[in-house]
């Protein structure tokens, strides 16, 4: 599995929907229309239960036919984003493709992230000093934009 990610170091949005949209906008391989539909899928998952995985950290995710490879976007907010029950400062967004090995690889990615978050600890992740350091801590190769 290719483990590369985009990172938005200083998110401008302050609510969940705009933040997801801002994060999706940096995904170069999908068009505007696909991004809109991906946003709907991620929002549906959030409406079904907010993906707060630790205090201050959200992990919006889904699998979709609109991507043909894994999409991972990290986002960090100084002000915090209303999620909306809790304010989050770190967002780990990922979308897995739909293919025969998709469910297994999706599970492995969740497992990988759970392991890395546990290993690094929340505070360390919040204190990362650059996109690259944050990506390293989570076991991803940063896609320079």
């Amino acid at each position: 599995m290719d483990r590369s990610c985009y990172c938005l170091w200083d998110l401008q949005s302050t609510d969940r929907s705009s933040t997801l949209s801002e994060m999706l906008s940096c995904v170069a391989q999908t068009g505007e229309h696909s991004r809109e539909l991906l946003l709907r899928a991620l929002e549906a998952r959030e409406l079904a239960g907010a993906t707060i995985v630790a205090p201050g950290t959200a992990m919006p995710h889904c699998r979709s036919i609109l991507v043909d490879d894994f999409v991972v976007v990290l986002g960090r907010s100084r002000e915090g984003v209303s999620w909306p029950e809790e304010r989050v400062r770190l967002i780990i967004l990922f979308i897995s493709p739909v293919k025969p090995s998709g469910p297994q690889e999706h599970m492995e990615l969740i497992k990988h992230l759970a392991g890395k978050i546990g290993e690094s600890g929340q505070e360390k992740l919040f204190k990362a000093s650059s996109s690259k350091q944050l990506a390293d801590m989570l076991g991803f190769q940063l896609i320079e934009s």
Partner: protein
């Protein structure tokens, strides 16, 4: 893009999410992350109901039939081929200017097809 086509793509992604959360391994990892996948499935099913009720009956029925037959009813067209059955589409289908402006099906397998932007 035709509104029903958009909704059929969203319906497909919702069905994938619901199915994934029914897998023991994914469920276990979501719980390990501190999420509540069981509750999420119930909510996703409600969202699915709401979405389904807004899709044209003809397309919803077709979606259901193809899901039963193949397990997936909506697929993208890549390199002029239906990615469901890998058959090359007729020129009249893949070169149409308004290709996403109506709901189209693969002439070979019958799956609902769309072109990614």
């Amino acid at each position: 893009m035709h509104p029903d086509l958009e909704k059929l793509i969203s319906l497909h992604d919702l069905d994938v999410m619901i199915k994934d959360l029914g897998r023991a391994d994914i469920l276990q990892e979501e719980v390990r992350l501190g999420l509540s996948p069981d509750a999420a499935v119930g909510e996703l099913k409600t969202i699915r109901e709401q979405l389904s009720s807004s899709i044209g009956k003809r397309w919803l029925a077709l979606y259901g039939q193809i899901c039963v037959r193949y397990g997936n009813a909506v697929v993208p067209v890549v390199m002029q081929r239906c990615t469901g059955c890998l058959t090359r589409l007729p020129t009249a289908v893949y070169s149409a200017d308004d290709r996403n402006e109506q709901v189209r099906t693969c002439p070979t397998c019958g799956r609902i097809i769309y072109w990614a932007d």
